[in-house]
């Protein structure tokens, strides 16, 4: 049920973000979603792509250090309070969120939330017990294509 996320180190300088994106574009790899965390000095780019193994090779060949981590994707209704209801469940279970980001698919009324937990398996159990829809890779990539 977990999604492979690629992350890489970027210096906070003009042009640094376009380099990996260009490498992926040249290889014909589409980015499903991304998030960027930054400080004054450097940033961490996190990407979700369908062919993550190929993308990792492409990025490493382009000179990046690439980490693969497992993240948890869930969906909520795209309405006020959608996110808050999920966070309540996570908070109640005492699970720490390292970071998260969200995106929506075109012409859908539901948003996808991507969570990075230290223990993703425990988090998946908690969410599923509360009937939250945890999206696996097959479904996620399938919907991206539609």
């Amino acid at each position: 049920m977990k999604i492979h996320q690629l992350s890489m180190f970027l210096e906070n300088k003009p042009g640094r973000l376009s380099e990996p994106c260009k490498a992926l574009a040249d290889a014909g790899i589409n980015i499903l979603t991304l998030s960027l965390a930054d400080t004054q000095q450097f940033g961490i780019l996190r990407l979700i792509v369908r062919d993550w193994e190929q993308a990792k090779q492409v990025l490493e060949k382009a000179g990046s250090v690439v980490n693969v981590t497992e993240v948890v994707a869930t969906e909520v209704e795209d309405r006020p309070g959608g996110l808050a209801s999920i966070l309540e469940i996570i908070d109640a279970a005492g699970i720490n969120i390292e970071y998260m980001y969200a995106f929506t698919f075109r012409s859908e009324d539901r948003a996808v939330l991507v969570f990075r937990f230290d223990d993703p398996d425990a988090a998946v159990k908690v969410l599923q017990a509360k009937s939250i829809n945890v999206i696996g890779p097959v479904e996620l990539y399938g919907r991206a294509k539609a």
């Binding site: 210096e11 961490i44 000179g63 250090v65 970071y99």
Partner: protein, 440 residues
């Protein structure tokens, strides 16, 4: 910790001479060497320039009136311009390429070679060598003094030599397994290389019969000593020398392992501020300067080693009366002065090693945007150190920052940079860019 213990032994009673006797001997020998070099054209000119006459030396402190000799002087007098004996008297020529520039040559008479053997025997015995032992020498044999110097020292003790020389690590490991030598002698980095190679072949390097090792020929750290001792299950001894002075045998550790005993009956050591050339206090880092007291073929007066170390005159528990030198912690030609504080790239390297477990690629940039010096240390992020969590990256950054501050006493701006962004060079790595020079 290794199970083997080294007993305290002294090879030569001269090592434990009373200080007053030693100083008298030094003064006598200093006068002799000044007289010997007075006819060497280089020193003849330098003495004439500085007004040094044969009676210039009355006390040991008078050494400070004598001119320095530098590596550049040796280069200028290539090949053998500094000989103090006729060429027919030579028994051996060695050389050193140094880290930069052209070859410099040094020469030995038969007497020099015997002295050299005795000096190496002294530290070898101090660090465990006994006549019944087999010592594996994995230093290069050739113009480099390491292989031959240690070889003669082992022979002098009456132990057996295995002159494996450097390289062909698979064969080194075979010899270590099949012949079970008691001691290994090489550079510290090669010792780690052998251990690493063995492990990758599925051989446990701790299972070799080795009890101890003598390491030198390059700068190393206490962390490396701990690593060598645990990976090879041996006691690791440090020794120091340079071809210009005699080769290995200038100083070496005893069983106490608290600094390297300088062989003061053969060399006078001074520890000087590399900028002012004034003596620094005991236990304070400065550049080591050696005067050879007994060398016949190519004696050198106040040779500037560029090596930065500190001297400890306290009597040692081993019974030797000689001054001890610390590990070499840097080179004066690499030294940076940041807001009046001396900083060596090796200290930054040590800090990074302590944080990361390995030394990543790094670059030190010095600038002076206003009136104050600023230092930036760029550190490449590696597969091991990179994390997708910002908190981990911040922790890495802060740990490096604190470590550098603790080791150098200087606050540096730490910048994590992307992998492969710091330029690699084929030869000596470029570690420092000093922008202050550009702005004058």
């Amino acid at each position: 910790m290794p199970e083997f213990r080294v007993e305290n032994r002294i090879h030569d009673k001269a090592e434990a001479m009373p200080r007053s006797e030693l100083n008298a001997l030094q003064l006598h020998r200093l006068k002799e060497v000044v007289a010997r070099v007075a006819e060497v054209p280089f020193y003849k000119a330098a003495f004439a320039r500085d007004g040094i006459t044969p009676d210039a030396i009355r006390t040991l402190d008078d050494i400070r009136r004598l001119p320095f000799t530098t590596k550049e002087d040796l280069r200028q007098n290539y090949p053998l311009g500094l000989l103090a004996v006729p060429r027919e008297k030579l028994a051996r020529i060695h050389g050193s390429s140094g880290t930069t520039g052209k070859l410099t040559l040094v020469a030995y008479t038969a007497e020099d070679r015997a002295t050299w053997a005795n000096l190496c025997a002294r530290f070898l015995v101090g660090g465990g060598l006994q006549p019944s032992h087999l010592a594996h020498v994995a230093f290069g044999y050739g113009l480099f003094t390491g292989g031959f110097g240690l070889h003669y020292g082992i022979e002098r003790v009456g132990a057996a030599v295995l002159p494996a020389a450097s390289g062909n690590t698979a064969r080194q490991i075979m010899l270590l397994q099949d012949l079970a030598p008691d001691a290994i002698i090489c550079t510290p980095s090669y010792a780690l290389n052998i251990a690493d190679y063995a492990r990758r072949q599925g051989i446990d390097p701790r299972a070799f019969a080795l009890k101890y090792g003598h390491f030198g020929g390059e700068m190393w750290t206490e962390d490396m000593r701990t690593q060598i001792e645990s990976e090879l299950n041996i006691i690791a001894f440090n020794n120091y020398g340079l071809s210009e002075v005699i080769g290995p045998g200038v100083s070496g550790e005893c069983a106490v392992q608290n600094g390297m005993h300088v062989q003061e009956d053969h060399f006078i050591v001074e520890c000087l501020d590399p900028v002012t050339m004034e003596p620094v206090d005991d236990y304070t880092y400065g550049e080591l300067v050696f005067t050879t007291l007994t060398k016949q073929a190519m004696p050198l007066i106040r040779y500037r080693t560029r090596d930065i170390a500190a001297l400890d005159p306290c009597p040692c528990a081993c019974g030797r009366t000689t001054v001890r030198m610390s590990r070499v912690k840097g080179r004066s030609d690499d030294m940076l002065i940041i807001r009046g504080v001396n900083l060596f790239p090796s200290q930054i390297e040590e800090a990074l090693l302590q944080v990361e477990g390995t030394t990543p690629h790094y670059l030190i940039e010095v600038s002076r945007p206003g009136t104050l010096d600023e230092i930036t240390v760029k550190v490449e992020v590696s597969q091991e150190s990179f994390s997708d969590k910002m908190s981990d990256m911040q922790r890495l950054h802060d740990a490096i920052d604190r470590r550098i501050q603790a080791i150098t006493g200087i606050h540096a701006r730490v910048e994590l940079v992307a992998p492969q962004t710091i330029e690699r060079s084929a030869g000596k790595a470029l570690r420092v860019i000093d922008h202050r020079k550009l702005t004058g």
